[in-house]
């Protein structure tokens, strides 16, 4: 595992929504991170991670990119039972401390 940003071909449409990262992010965050708001370090857009564009990383993991500028917001990789999160693409990330949106308290 390196700290190199993976190459992403933004010319195709093969990305998913940030929703798709919910399972992997649930390995790290105690509450649902896809409803968390983040500020893009590249363009300043503020949005929930569910609206980000998700691209797969070869070998297991995901990159979340800003839906406005396609700058990398976060990268989560999973290998050999370890998860590494790179959050440098966000100035901040604001989570719901009450955890009301994680679904575990559903009816």
């Amino acid at each position: 595992m390196t700290d190199q940003a993976p190459h992403i071909d933004h010319s195709d449409q093969s990305y998913l929504d940030g929703n798709a990262a919910a399972g992997l992010l649930a390995e790290v965050f105690a509450v649902d991170a896809t409803t968390a708001r983040g500020r893009c370090a590249s363009c300043g857009d503020e949005s929930v991670l569910a609206r980000a564009h998700v691209h797969p990383v070869a070998g297991g993991g995901l990159v979340l990119c800003c839906a406005v500028c396609e700058g990398m917001l976060a990268r989560a990789t999973e290998a050999a039972g370890r998860v590494r999160i790179d959050l440098r693409g966000m100035v901040w990330l604001e989570l719901d401390a009450d955890g009301d949106d994680d679904g575990d308290d559903a009816v």
Partner: protein, 253 residues
């Protein structure tokens, strides 16, 4: 090792279409979920190679005779898929699967939500929308609900009988208004020639901006891009449009 993975028992399996199947999973410790959530499924090959894909939940909590510790997924087989061919054609009742979730708090509908809801699904993108329609009906919700469902052929639509029952042949007071779009082959006597969903047909079938509906759109990336773009052009607020794309990259590891 991380601990989010659980072992689920496959307790029922039934075909939905020629290339899609609904699996009922019993997940020990499952206490609830939200309509629209998904689970990750992990398969491990004998050599240790693992593949993970996300699948939307089709069932709704407390609806359809699904027990409290159970949920249903509907999986469509992708020709070159690593996981879906096994889930559609391989796994059997009595087998076990590794699952993570249910997860996701964004593309969800809650029974307490009272505003109009417009569901728009392309192909197997109807699965999480079906969970919402089932939850809506089970709750006896008064929230106006519509589903616009784009399918290739009459035989490729999921849940046809149940959707027809929810829509009550268009009767007033039915829990769901249902509109089909057929892209390759339409039923005999259908008033429109088969073809892709177009801008005008979309805006004719959905709630107008004045109703301030919330949109849930699920389908392939090009489908979601086109539909959400047309809705914004028609005057719908982008922050009322929630999307879930699926497609060639096969979900979230």
């Amino acid at each position: 090792m991380t601990t989010a993975w659980r072992v689920a028992d496959v307790v029922d399996a039934r075909p939905e279409t020629a290339d899609a199947r609904t699996l009922r999973l019993r997940i020990p410790g499952l206490t609830g979920y939200l309509a629209g959530q998904h689970v990750d499924v992990r398969l491990t090959a004998p050599d240790g190679y693992q593949a993970v894909r996300s699948y939307s939940i089709a069932s709704a909590p407390g609806a359809g005779g699904v027990a409290a510790d159970e949920l249903e997924l509907t999986v469509e087989e992708l020709p070159d898929g690593e996981v879906s061919p096994y889930l559609v054609g391989g796994v059997a009742v009595g087998d076990q699967l590794e699952v993570r979730g249910p997860v996701g708090g964004w593309f969800v509908w809650r029974p307490g939500d009272t505003g109009p809801v417009q569901l728009i699904g392309g192909g197997s993108g109807v699965v999480p929308l079906m969970s919402m329609a089932r939850a809506h009906a089970a709750a006896g919700s008064d929230a106006p609900f519509r589903l616009l469902y784009s399918v290739r052929t009459p035989a490729s639509g999921f849940y046809r009988d149940e959707l027809d029952a929810l829509a009550g042949s268009g009767a007033a007071g039915a829990p769901l208004r249902l509109d089909y779009v057929y892209t390759r082959e339409a039923p005999p006597g259908w008033p429109h020639a088969p073809g892709r969903l177009m801008r005008d047909a979309l805006t004719d079938a959905v709630f107008p901006p004045a109703d301030d509906p919330t949109f849930y759109i699920c389908g392939s990336t090009p489908f979601v891009e086109a539909v959400s773009g047309w809705l914004v052009d028609a005057g719908h607020a982008p922050d009322r449009i929630r999307t879930e794309r699926y497609g060639g990259i096969g979900g979230a590891p």
